[in-house]
């Protein structure tokens, strides 16, 4: 039987998840900022950007990271 009465590192998972998701979102931010600064800001360009396969995956990853990041922030506060 595994008894966890004393000890440490119970928050490690949240702590680590918060930092990994932060890195993912930071990378997404830099990529999005780079794309936006390079291209022209028209409806066609805007729609095409979010229609691309890699961008859909990246945005979904960002959304999941955001939820987990906020959740772990509450858990470790």
């Amino acid at each position: 039987m595994k008894r966890l009465v004393v000890g440490a590192h119970y928050g490690l998972r949240d702590w680590l998840a918060q930092r990994v998701t932060a890195a993912i979102m930071a990378l997404y931010t830099l990529i999005l900022a780079g794309v936006l600064l390079n291209g022209s800001f028209t409806y066609g360009a805007w729609k095409d950007l979010f229609a691309q396969g890699w961008m859909r995956v990246a945005t979904l990853l960002f959304a999941a990271s955001l939820a987990w990041h906020a959740g772990s922030a509450c858990a470790t506060s």
Binding site: R19, A22, A26, F41, Y43, K47, L66
Partner: protein, 135 residues
């Protein structure tokens, strides 16, 4: 209970003026509390707002034009966008600072204060750059 008239003399440094004007947060403390405030703001209300903006601007060309030319022209919307952009930039810069602090980089008092100032000014500068593009 003792009578209410027997007033307790409170320690000076817990008085309201002391809390407001005498006990001041050091700069890293300001970065920290602003990191939390901006983080909370980014989750609520800004997640919902950004989803609305993305949805409307991507759904149709009319929606895109509406957001870009009419919605963003509203003063209150501009103010909201500025608060959002500042929250994002500050949270981003402060977050990167914390990632370095986690690695024990920049934990000396002098460096920590310097990087705190850098984070505060970087957040404001990035917001100013964005504001210049918005107007």
């Amino acid at each position: 209970m003792a009578s209410a008239s027997a007033k307790k003399i409170r320690p000076k440094y817990l008085s309201l003026p002391a809390l407001l004007f005498e006990i001041r947060l050091p700069v890293p403390g300001w970065v920290s509390i602003l990191h939390r405030i901006s983080g909370a703001l980014l989750f609520f209300p800004f997640v919902a707002w950004v989803l609305y903006l993305l949805d409307t601007s991507l759904a149709s060309e009319q929606g895109f034009d509406y957001i870009r030319n009419r919605y963003f022209a509203l003063p209150l919307v501009k103010l909201g966008i500025l608060v959002f952009v500042w929250s994002y930039c500050h949270h981003f810069c402060a977050g990167i600072r914390y990632l370095f602090l986690d690695l024990d980089i920049g934990v000396e008092l002098k460096t920590a204060r310097l990087t705190s100032w850098i984070v505060i000014f970087a957040g404001l500068a990035l917001t100013a750059v964005f504001a210049a593009r918005l107007w």
